[in-house]
Amino acid sequence: MSLWSRIANVFRGDRLNREIDEELESHVEAAIEQGRDPAEARRAFGSMLRHREESRDMQLIPWLESLRADGTFGLRQLRKNKVTSAAAILSLAVAIGACTSAFRLIDALLLRPLPVANPERIYDLSRQGIGPDGAPQTFDGWAYPDFQLMRAAVKNQLELIAVSYAEPVDLTYKSDEEIEKAYLQYVSGWMFSTLGIKPALGRVFTENDDLKPGGHPYAVLSHDYWTHRFGQDPSVIGRTFRMGNDLYEIAGVAEAPFTGTEPGTMVDIFVPTMMNPAVIRKDSTWHRTLAMVNAGAALEPIRQKLDATSRAFEEERAKGFLGMRKEDIDHYLNQRVLLEPAASGVSDLQSETRRPLVILGVLVALVLLIACANVANLMTAQASARAREMAVRVSIGGGRWRLVQMVLVQSAWLALLAAAVGGLFAWWSGPFVVSMINPPDNPARLLLPADWRVLSFGLVLALGVTLLFGLVPALRASSVNPVSALKGGEDPHSKRRLMHALIAVQVAFCFLVLFVAGLFVTTFKRLSHQPTGFSADRLLVLDAVTKQPQPLEFWVQVAEHLRSVPGVETVAQADAPLLGGNSWNNFVSINGGPSNGILSYMRGVSPGWLETMKIALIDGRDFRPSDTHPGSAIVNETFAKVYFDGVDPVGKTFDLATDEGLRLRYQIVGYVGDVRYRNLREPILPQFYVPFRSVDASGAPRKKGAATLLVRTSSSNPRTLASILRQEVPRARSEFRVSRIRTQLEINQSHTVRERLLATLALFFAIVALLLAGVGLYGVLHYSVLQRQREIGIRIAVGAQAGGIARLVTMEVFSMVLLGAATGVGVGMVSVRFTESLFYQVKATDLQMLAPPSLAILAGAFLAAVPAVIRAVRIDPITMLRAE
């Protein structure tokens, strides 16, 4: 009760004072009633004020009380200078908001542990070695038979879990008319018990649900999917859905908030690994392997055991490798198994965005520092305006730390108000930035909780910022020398020196932000203007699926039907779109010789595909309906360069080796221009195209269950045809469905999403940085003109010219700007080394990259200087001198 009443008394200090006074007063009255002389009674009582203060300190918490008093006073000070305070709060708010927002993203994607038991004991298995292209590479995909051997080998020390790369699949709940997409992950049955995930409804898988290939058609839904797809309907247990040819039964719902082990993808449906057709294949690396290590286990012996097991498996398999060079096989076998901590899960989004996010984080931090420098300058200027007040406080006995506290509390107000506004900004901008990382039809879904982690980050940031910009001005203010301050003659230059140093720092940071932003913007521009070798204009990409694989004739019929739809110019088929993410490759052998170790990339395409894609035919011909795979091939220029020394290869042949140990022969019938296959950054790959009509060993045509239909439309917005085409496909043949429609342009743009995000955000931060630095410069110049107006007045009175005055006012500051810019250039050049991998065809040392930020800063500085110079030149010496 006592502590509470003392805290409460802090906030009702006036009432407390009144009550104490009243009691003391009643004592004197009682004395007078007793017949004592009033003057004597009062004298005997002593100093009422002192007794009151003593009693008061007894009844409340003195330090809290002084803090409260400083808080009220600080707020009053801020309100007194409304405009400057608002400017300071706003600039800090933008910076703090951006920082918090960046933290939210980095935390959600990279730092936050998975919501499972003992996340710190989860490790990800990968292999590190030399890739087929001769460059070092790390890959964390595994073949299931290898996984089984490894699991058995380390059974007693740790548990291994297989989790597939989560991907969107087509499935139907009621009729086959209604295909929907859901994110599906194949997982080991024992994953749930190992990670401590309980069912929210029904049951989750166990080891017994994952024993026989193809034998466990059951599914567990994520809580999130159960909520947004089924509205948490409990009757969902036992319902079935069809995926491909299999019918799955829903067995249960996993408890929230677990949505898989890949931050950036929220898994909707879990099915046992045994349901993946590739589970028996030794050559298909389709899942990650996670290890749940026992507490305190030594990792290195386990790693060595896994390494040995995996190597034995691959050595056995390598005996069947044909057409591969000895050194490539050696590289392949000499891969080293790595065990890396994966407490926050593993995903491609993580590895792709780790570096960009860290760079953005650094840019944001720089912006925050610029804002801090601004506020520090503002506080310094204010403190000097309050020098007399401080001097008075010191001379009547204000303690030094008490003064530091007073100024710091005012800074804390600024920081807290800014953090509140910034928090709102971060709350809005976090999801906005996530939405920008994504292509529209394949959104990364990231949990962005605004919980204690984010809140405490914001508070720590506000506190840190307070100390950063508040401590120096507070110390300076408190070290005031009352005698000289009251005489009005402290060294005025000392404060200006601090402010000037901060200007140099600000400009250096600002240059850095602008410079990096410029590099990102140029990278984005260069990359998105990369020629692709084909035309994406008015091109629609339809992913078509069938319930059962269908004969080629039916696929031809569907394409034929679409050609008759008004607005359609040409239609072609391919096994997958270009730049769509699917990759199919093999080593090529010429004249039966060994491969040269360079992988060649393939795509199955129908006659008319070249025309639909508008790919240049250099020599030879397009495929004819009678051409088959294996049999005929069309190759690109890089293929001719790599395998035929750049000579026109039409009419020549090459061989491919299959996993079954067969050699397949292809005759080159066409020679075409280079196109982009996987992405826009890498050098053009050697490619060849094979006919869409594929035949088996006996020459019989193979049926197809999925393919891509490419439709060139006559409308400038091909999307307008999307819904019509979606209906026309099943109308052509009822077995066919469209599972997804994209424009080729969307596919192309998805390759520059990261660059666009970086460019946009960096540009935004650059503008904020420039604005803040400009405001800061303006503030300092304004202050120094105010401080020196007497001197300027005298100079004008004795005949100084306007030019001279302008130089006097700006000289020092501009030399600081130049110093800062020079430092910025230096730091920029060095720091670019860490970001190089994100740039494309951009050199940091180019004048082209250095000039724009320098010019922008100089222009900003001139602009910021104009008002102060005008003010200085307009000083009227007569009023100025009279005022003193």
Binding site: M1, S2, R6, E19, I20, E22, E23, L24, S26, H27, E29, A30, A31, Q34, A44, F45, G46, S47, M48, R50, H51, E54, S55, M58, Q59
Partner: protein, 109 residues
């Protein structure tokens, strides 16, 4: 004549004792009681009484209430709490120990 100095450390004991005998007194009455009951030997420095009362009150040994007197003025009346009764016992025995120790020293000399 010894004044407040002789009260050092014993003011709490005196206040608690007075209040245990005569509940509900205001500050002036407590002071007068100490003076009269000690036969005018002990005098409390008037102003210092209040910080002491407030300290004892914060400690929870006494409890205060405002009452309105007939004159319309308000006065703050103190009374002993249960904790105060316990504290009084402790203070009393401490005082006894100290004084008898001092007496012993004086006698041996």
């Amino acid at each position: 004549m010894p004044k407040s100095d002789s009260l050092q450390g014993s003011l709490d004991l005196l206040v608690l004792t007075i209040l245990s005998r005569r509940p509900r007194l205001h500050g002036y009455a407590i002071m007068s009681a100490i003076q009269s009951m000690s036969g005018e030997v002990l005098r409390v420095e008037e102003g210092s009484l209040y910080p002491a009362l407030h300290r004892i009150e914060e400690a929870g040994w006494i409890h205060a209430n405002w009452i309105t007197k007939d004159s319309g003025r308000r006065a703050r009346m103190y009374e002993l709490t249960a904790a105060g009764k316990k504290q009084l016992g402790a203070e009393e025995s401490r005082w006894q120990t100290v004084t008898s120790a001092i007496n012993r020293v004086l006698r041996t000399a």
